[in-house]
């Protein structure tokens, strides 16, 4: 089965609201996590990453939180805009035997209403 999963398949928000997208991971050996954004008809695009020695990292309008105790990640988007509408994936780099294998969760579809 998948080692990375998302709690909510669809999230609808109003423009200007803050969005929170959650992700659970099960591989305790993973120590690097990435959030990707995938717009319709395009490949996933890097948004922000976090290493396991951190519990929070901020970017422009985005913040990623990591809780290693419960193996949980979240992506917070401030002042959500219509352009943020996309599917968001968390991914973990799993080290099975020397080389890291990027593994994706199922994704959350974010819908922003104007």
């Amino acid at each position: 089965g998948e080692s990375v999963g998302l709690h909510l398949p669809t999230l609808s928000v109003q423009e200007g609201d803050n969005s929170i997208i959650n992700c659970a991971y099960s591989n305790s050996a993973s120590d690097y996590f990435i959030w990707y954004k995938q717009e319709s008809g395009k490949g996933p695009q890097f948004i922000i990453d976090i290493r396991s020695n951190m519990d929070k990292r901020q970017g422009q309008r985005v913040t990623v939180l990591l809780n290693k105790t419960v193996k949980h990640l979240s992506l917070q988007i401030a002042a959500t805009q219509p352009g943020d509408s996309a599917v968001y994936f968390c991914a973990e780099n799993i080290p099975p035997g020397g080389s890291y294998i990027p593994t994706f969760g199922r994704g959350t579809s974010l819908i922003v209403h104007p």
């Binding site: 990375v4 294998i101 994704g107």
Partner: protein, 115 residues
Amino acid sequence: EAGVAQSPRYKIIEKRQSVAFWCNPISGHATLYWYQQILGQGPKLLIQFQNNGVVDDSQLPKDRFSAERLKGVDSTLKIQPAKLEDSAVYLCASSSGTGRNEKLFFGSGTQLSVL
């Protein structure tokens, strides 16, 4: 800097036919990945190359799928014969290496429909 290039953009075939996809990674990127993304799901890794060697192909259905990266640059993924369940978007990605903190850069994918 040019991104990851993939072709064709769309492909429609009948079951039992064969199909091939092409990928050219970002210049200088040693690692190349092929992912399969079924509608409504996250990308699933099929194969990972480091230069022209295979790092992981544990989820590649080897009875029908094959991939090569002969010169360590561009790559082709082939399906022969195709099944209905192969309908998906095939994404190619590249990264500079296979280390802990690698970010992937994706192409726009090839959307395959098997009828």
